[in-house]
Subunit: 131 residues, 2 copies
């Protein structure tokens, strides 16, 4: 916390509130970014789709709100590529839900994506003069 050059607790909290009010479309995630968030969330624990989106929203303090229309295509894409696998299980309220977990290929992919994300942020920050 507080390590990012443009990170400012108060500003961030106020912007985060605005996100919900304004539903700012700029926080729609680029596809690659959504993938890394899903892989990271599943690296912590297997989970069903809705819980993945909810956890991302919570951890980002509501800044990242993943719509179902983005989430499920992303899950299917990641499964097709062999980075996650799924099986049916029971959700907290005892309904059938599809559970997703990271494969070992997915773990490697996550590590690579984390490096790429770091590089992208570093490079863009250089151009923006915030590095």
């Amino acid at each position: 916390m507080g390590l990012l050059p443009f990170y400012n607790e108060k500003l961030y909290a106020s912007l985060s509130t605005q996100t919900k009010i304004m539903s700012d479309p700029r926080l729609d995630l680029p596809q690659g970014t959504l993938d890394i968030l899903i892989l990271k969330t599943l690296a912590l624990a297997p989970s069903h789709g809705w819980a993945i989106a909810q956890r991302i929203q919570q951890v980002s303090r509501d800044a990242l709100q993943i719509q179902q229309g983005s989430l499920y295509p992303a899950l299917h894409r990641l499964e097709r590529r062999g980075w996650i696998r799924s099986k049916w299980g029971a959700s907290e309220n005892n309904r059938r839900a599809r559970y997703y977990e990271l494969t070992s290929a997915g773990k490697k992919r996550l590590a690579a994506e984390e490096v790429s994300w770091g590089r992208l942020v570093a490079a863009v920050s250089e151009v923006l003069g915030t590095a």
Copy 2:
């Protein structure tokens, strides 16, 4: 420099070299990110297309290489939206080249995009545990 949690001078330099060797597709820029880089570059000085791409590449120490196939559609899109405007001029080697400059609407847009980018990075960093 050195402020980003995942920024590491040596790692970055070695990865940057790999980018060229491997032509790693992961540093392909999400569309919104390319826009902000172009607007930022033009905020420093009016420029022609090729020089914009070259400057972004230089400042990011080769991490960001903008292809013509991405650059020109982005410039046209930004011009259509009124954020930049262009006119013909002479390039350094005295050839005719189209020069782009930021409009006042473009300045506002850049400021908004910088805030959004900072929020996105902060939010993703929270999820990745690098914040």
